[in-house]
Symmetry: C2
């Protein structure tokens, strides 16, 4: 049923003879059909179509945009089992997980639909004129957010649905009023093709121009680099490795007209276990930690890749409990061969650091034919952690490193050595949070989300979610890629001065026909 | 009374033997004392002091931050005539203008004080837990904006008070809870020293750490480059030329950990005069335009450097009226010799473009001994404008270019050739705005502020002001450097998950002790 072509404004495009095949990590088999890599001409055509469509789409009523997002969600559900099965074959992710991810994808689309329908996100501000002001009259000034223009979205390997074709980046960009050119991830091009067809059904049902969305195939970085450099592109969203994200960021910054890139990249997601928590519930934390770092074969952006605690008998008991947990963990299929290879080579790299030892590994062996990763935990002391920067690099997969501090000073020094993080987690009981206020403060400075007595995996999609911390966890800590605030990446404010009412956007008219929350003469009001 | 030293956390620093003198553009005279350029060690010391102070300042109560901003304003006023006189000598700007600029500077500080005191700017969001949710319980999640860290502010040549030492960038950064290392502009170092002493008096009165603010001298780009590359710096604000702004942006993007740079740079601020307006009030527009492009000797970011209209008898009458206006305009002292030289060479460059002719110049000649610029207006046709990219570069000073389109198509094509602009102005009457909806739309896409029937100079400081458009008018059109929203450049969101109430920032506690507007379970409420 799949054709393996790119979609440019709804039309199939396959000019190139360069093709690639998706490979199932479940058994290494090649999956039909061959996918055609987009050519430079196709990249240009997709972006030009996005620019043309933007001129129409940006003026489409907000309520129509909200409906469009809802219809996309419905059309994705209508793809039924075909979508889940293809995603399973391409990503190796279990059917249950993918079914849940589909729910999340649709919830995200609908959450952005609801945000746009409610309307206050545009941060409308009105300052009325005062012709009598001296020395100069005060003009009528009104301001709100407008969409940036055509946005490039890069599919993510680890979320074939929720952070790919119609995932959070696409949903937030379309919600803002931007058009989207999507680069499908080379690991799951068939999944991308199916979701793209759902988006086009929604475009057709909603009577929108087809150029609102295009999807291009490409296995390497050529298509991505061509997209980020295209003069009509106005922003880019990415989730993936620090290396790939930085390459896109650098290309965007080097353009004659730089554009914003929100790249969500590497993160250790440190978990710090404070003394009272370690004493009171070390075994429970060990069990929770094992679940968190092996969940999804450790392939979440928020996987806890580092655990920090003070040494002593409570820690030893915790470490013993954690060792048993890890030993009982099961190897499982990773997303693709490259990620699996990179996982094992990362583990080897860490193991070769003097002062790092194996704490535990899964008793069951990984099956290379099934592209399996094997849960493993290492341990080291705080000094070794601080001195070896390679211990501060993310290893994507079911790996974590226990770092033992001898003193509170060492504990704090280790925390201060952390690079920017998506999340930082603290397990605390009794007076722990108060006793370690400096540590909590250090973690707040270095992360986008601080978690108490839970685990960082499981990223809630809600208004208060921040998914994006200081570099390298993201390229701009002022924005998020998860939660409704993700829309702010794709919008900029415009002020209208002295405009007659009928030439203003409806959101800025005195009568407030949309009933949105606005700042009028400095006061927030509906 | 001036000492010519940098200030590092309140202490004078003058390690370097490299000194420079401010020169008065009024008569070319050198002004005592000699100013010591900051050394690399001093740069490092200032940033380290800013980092140390940040650990304290970021936890200072918002009301205390607001008071601090108010006290700075009062201390600036207390400097009295000394400040105005030194600024007059250094910048050549008239005393009246500087007195007005001081009022604006103090109003800005107080506006940010009021914003921080009111408190809703932190965009607090609370999503309560739901332990009964399936398949997984919903955690308690809370999010608000926190300050980025030490911020570098670059003094601007054209606003020795309102966009320099305690200007909009410093005020917004301090309001956000950031500490500031300021690089004084080489043209007005004495003004900077005076204002810095006012800031230190405020720091002392408010009992804040002295490292909250430092000020370094430097005549070239060495100190600026050292600052933007310092690993502890977390952001930079700049107002000036495209060349200098881009150099800072590039250095920030090339860092191992890139940081945000908000550079407000070049802008033509096009004024489009539509047919009914041209017919009804061409002469009035000509008079207003002359005032606007010669105001402050054309040295405003928002100076209208381009005028676009359809040719014909109404345009000819307008051009004749404008010619007479320009001829009667007076030469006046520019900010410094380099800016004056650059103005005249820019005018020469434009004059050498085939198809560009002089429309009018001031009858009175500029006096080079007084560093004077001379008002001049050129004219060309739309085709020449579109074909020559050098006509789309800003010329800082009292210059403007009239572009005449033969057809509506040409008019629209010329508007679509505009690069990113801080402002775009439309003069319209009757059905003009409706008749030229495509043009209005094209201007909205290319600018941060669209003005109807007024002139772009005179930037209102209010919540609805957007001062920052698409590149090259700014490096990130999603932010503004004027108006209270300027604070958003220096803050990032953090989410707190599962925190006990007493460990949360007060803004995020259920009882809402600050009484701020918040998004609670998706609903905006106090």
């Amino acid at each position: 049923m799949l054709h393996g072509h790119s979609f440019i404004a709804g039309k199939q495009a396959a000019d190139s003879a360069r093709t690639f095949l998706a490979k199932s990590p479940l058994d290494g088999s090649e999956l039909a059909p061959a996918f055609h890599e987009a050519t430079a001409t196709e990249v240009d055509a997709a972006v030009c179509a996005a620019e043309d469509a933007f001129e129409i789409y940006r003026r489409v009523d907000a309520l129509a945009r909200a409906d469009f997002l809802d219809v996309i969600a419905n059309e994705i559900v209508a793809l039924g089992d075909t979508l889940i099965q293809r995603a399973h074959l391409e990503s190796g992710l279990p059917v249950d997980r993918l079914t849940g991810e589909r729910t999340r994808t649709c919830s995200q689309l609908k959450a952005f639909g609801a945000l746009v329908r409610e309307g206050s996100w545009v941060d409308a501000r009105i300052d009325h004129a005062n012709p009598d002001r001296t020395p100069v009259p005060k003009p009528d000034m009104r301001r709100m957010l407008v969409p940036l223009g055509p946005i490039v979205v890069m599919g993510a390997s680890n979320f074939p649905l929720a952070f790919s074709t119609a995932g959070g980046d696409t949903a937030s960009a379309l919600a803002a009023g931007c058009t989207v050119v999507m680069k499908a991830h080379g690991s799951h091009p068939g999944t991308a093709e199916l979701v793209a067809t759902a988006i086009y059904r929604a475009i057709e049902k909603c009577g929108l121009p087809a150029g609102v969305f295009s999807m291009l195939h490409g296995a390497g970085s050529v298509v991505a680099q061509a997209l980020v450099k295209h003069p009509l592109v106005r922003g880019l969203g990415f989730t993936g490795s620090e290396r790939a994200g930085r390459a896109l960021f650098d290309a965007a910054a080097a353009r004659p007209e730089p554009i914003p890139v929100f790249a969500e990249m590497g993160s250790l997601n440190p978990v710090v276990i404070l003394p009272n928590a370690l004493k009171e519930r070390g075994a429970a934390i060990a069990a929770g930690l094992k679940n968190s770092f092996t969940m999804g074969v450790g392939q979440f952006c928020t996987k806890p890749g580092l655990v920090l605690a003070l040494g002593g008998p409570d820690f030893d008991a915790f470490a013993q409990a954690f060792r048993e947990q890890v030993q009982s963990a099961a190897p499982a299929t990773m997303l693709n061969r490259a990620i699996c290879d990179s996982f094992f080579s990362g583990v080897d790299r860490v193991q070769s650091v003097k002062g790092v030892t194996v704490l535990a590994e899964a008793v069951a062996d990984a099956d290379p034919a099934k592209t399996q990763g094997e849960p493993v935990a290492f341990t080291t002391d705080a000094e070794t952690f601080i001195l070896n920067h390679e211990l501060r690099e993310e290893i994507f997969g079911p790996f974590t490193l226990l770092v033992v501090a001898r003193t509170v000073t060492e504990l704090l020094a280790a925390a201060r050595a952390f690079r920017g993080q998506l999340t930082a987690t603290i397990h605390a009981a009794g007076s722990d949070l108060a006793d370690f206020a400096d540590l909590v403060s250090a973690l707040e400075r270095r992360s986008g989300r601080v978690v108490v007595n839970a685990f960082p995996t499981g990223v809630e999609v809600c208004p208060s979610m921040q998914h994006g911390g200081p570099y390298p966890s993201s390229t701009d800590s002022r924005f998020t890629s998860v939660g409704t605030a993700a829309i702010l990446r794709w919008a900029r404010p415009v002020s209208w001065q002295g405009f007659p009412a009928d030439a203003l956007p409806v959101e800025l008219r005195d009568e407030n026909p949309r009933g949105i929350m606005r700042t009028v003469n400095g006061i927030l009001t509906r």
